[in-house]
Symmetry: C2
Subunit: 428 residues, 2 copies
């Protein structure tokens, strides 16, 4: 008789409930696939009495996550509380210090403390797993750290925040403004309590920093992510991008360059006909480029009860099967410091401007751009009824810093009606 695997689950929100449903409803499937009985010893959550639509009566109720992590009768601590400080962090640390295995869906915790947690877990012989932390149900952590481990990774790209992708695709399909769709998403409950986590790109940047660590063998460096949110994107930008064959996505890009690790989470233009360009609504997509395998694209639901629980349970199954590898694919103490680098990789840019409609205005702009090596590929001036002329420029491949310097100079021309907006065009 093999011993059962005993779980303690902290956090009984959507994901926690989803995990419990799978454990309850798939006893024989899980037994067949792992050779073990997987059982829940104890749970904890803020409210003991709330009706969650599932039967918790056969589990011990623990008063808080830390007490749960301390229990002798659990082998795996499942952290589904969220937040990168407080109870989640404290309980995970205690579980690890007791040599227990930990499964978490907490991208913020990993982005901020993943490296130190991995070091402690590896010292203590604990397994720390987090498939659900990135891209929900898509098995991207496993694909990257195991399935593609024979590759040197060249680049990772991804749409990893379903809410932002919902807002951008909804703007396009409805013609509504950013503000209108934002309110709509808020009413539908799609936004985090702090909406800036979503629309500011922070949540997606947490995920990108985790993928970077695995892909490039570097310590997680969340602060090294160049971050830009979607709140400056107008419905006109979306229409004009479409007009030129592009769609706007909040895109994460991570690549190792000769000057260091470049990590960006920002709105980007991608070709409408590319897999990333075709992504609708809340779906997530990760593109992994390896030197051997070429381009691998993974697509699926990035959030929701079933998909996220599927990922959590896959980690539990791995542990039940005795599958173990280093937290980020190689021992944490061998991960290199990521010398983070401002974007050096040249790219074409989309540059949106509003000019005073006066003779020579455009000439003044293009003169400045050419002074700073910003070479123009295509330009369009749109029809207008007032004295402001909307001008759109697509540049050749240029360096981001050249573009930024040029943009700083542009106001000196006295012909700008508003601050220009530059959006990177990512080759996908």
């Amino acid at each position: 008789m093999t011993k059962p695997l005993r779980l303690g689950i902290a956090g009984l929100g959507t994901v926690g409930v989803g995990v419990i449903k799978i454990i309850q409803n798939k006893l024989s499937l899980l037994k067949a696939r792992t050779g073990k009985q997987i059982l829940i010893s104890a749970v904890t959550a803020k409210s003991k009495t709330k009706d969650r639509g599932i039967d918790l009566s056969s589990y011990q109720w623990e008063r808080d996550p830390v007490s749960l992590a301390n229990r002798e009768d659990i082998d795996v601590f499942i952290e589904l509380i969220g937040g990168h400080e407080g109870a989640a962090k404290e309980a995970v640390e205690i579980a690890i210090s007791k040599g227990k295995n930990v499964v978490t869906a907490n991208k913020a915790l990993l982005a901020h403390h993943g490296h130190e947690l991995a070091l402690k877990a590896e010292e203590n012989g604990s397994i720390l797993r987090f498939e659900a932390a990135v891209a929900g149900g898509i098995p991207v952590i496993k694909s990257l750290s195991e399935g593609l481990a024979g590759n040197s990774i060249n680049r990772i790209m991804g749409v990893m925040n379903g809410t932002c992708n919902y807002i951008l695709t909804r703007m396009e399909s409805s013609g509504l403004s950013y503000e209108e769709v934002f309110s709509e998403a808020n009413e539908l409950g799609y936004l985090e309590a702090d909406p800036n986590l979503d629309i500011g790109g922070i949540d997606a940047a947490h995920k990108l920093s985790i993928l970077s660590s695995i892909a490039f063998g570097t310590e997680i460096n969340f602060n090294g992510v160049e971050l830009d949110g979607i709140d400056k994107i107008t419905i006109n930008d979306i229409h004009q991008a479409a007009d030129m064959g592009f769609r706007i996505k909040l895109l994460g890009v991570s690549q190792m360059t000769s000057s260091g690790l470049e990590q960006r989470m920002s709105p980007c233009l991608v070709p409408t006909r590319s897999p990333l360009g075709q992504l609708e609504g809340g779906t997530n997509m990760i593109v992994i480029e390896g030197d051997q395998v070429g381009q691998i694209v993974l697509r699926g639901a990035g959030a929701g009860e079933g998909p996220t629980a599927s990922a959590v349970v896959s980690d539990i199954i791995d542990i039940a099967r005795g599958i173990s590898l280093a937290t980020f694919g190689q021992p944490a103490k061998t991960l290199k410091k990521a010398s983070s680098s401002k974007s050096q990789t040249p790219a074409p840019y989309y540059l949106r401007m509003l000019l005073h409609d006066e003779p020579g205005a455009l000439a003044k702009i293009t003169k400045i751009l050419s002074q700073f090596n910003v070479s123009i590929d295509r330009m369009r001036q749109y029809g207008h009824e007032d004295e402001n002329a909307p001008v759109l420029i697509v540049t050749h491949e240029i360096k981001h810093e050249d573009l930024m310097t040029a943009i700083q100079e542009l106001p000196n021309t006295q012909v700008l009606k508003a601050q220009p907006l530059a959006i990177r065009i990512e080759a996908v």
Copy 2:
């Protein structure tokens, strides 16, 4: 000091050479990711003297695969010979009988003998891995057997033969006939020595039968795959399908129904705008539908040196890391016999006919169809210059056997100029 992992590689074609290049060029990456030195003890292939562009001088040369499998100085036998009988099978059996681990890219071997090999491997404590056998570089075996193991799988679909997808998409883009593109593909070296393995759907059916076993916990049942090749598809079919919003793909579908396991590998119509519909050229795509995760789509190169070698090396890395699970995701002796079922799941069909252009011809056809419950959704009669009228029908959801019975009756109408062709429209 951990002991190195010692490989014996049988078969030095494209994939074998690709694997050796990775082992040679990524020593430190593999060491970092596995904690072990991975080294090649010995190799074998038909020709010892052929120039393969790599240095084999530091490896022992073994005279044949069976002798290689017998060597004491290898821990993992890498079978890259191919074929489901003969040397490949014999050598794999010997390696397993000696308790060695085996990595293979051989879908034919697995489709025909995978179950018995898995039984023997599990009796002998050997690991048998085969990521490269399905969809080349896409980590689909790992995603299905590990990453999505918390799901009951509803359906698997996939374009798994790059050559067929190349032929079909090339016909569409060039307007050339099937025969012309077939010759072209042959000259380019895209076809197997026996082209029927590709265009007859056999190679893809091998792969589908492997996925079915993992997805549904059933013994591999290659003979249960309903098989139909792409050689009956005309350029007109492709154009007419496009006209109705569809593209034609050689699509594998596997699903468990109340009457048993349905496995089909056949040309299907899929919506042009779906991920499957948008797949160009030699790329592969697998769609996995789980009850928790919803739809997961995996896309990448299905063949070629780098992608296939990437998959083989991922299996080697798993073994080096001590990762082990049952061959098909649960112990082979617990897999159920798959009671194979003829397609019962209703679907709409595309029905192409050529009629004598005479009064009442179409009425005779539609009468027979309605007698056999083949209900018509859309019908088009195309312009024509001779006395033959091309007619295209899209049916409502119907049972395949009703359609086949109706098609058998149609010649009795005396108005058919040619045998009708029916193509399933798969909901994706």
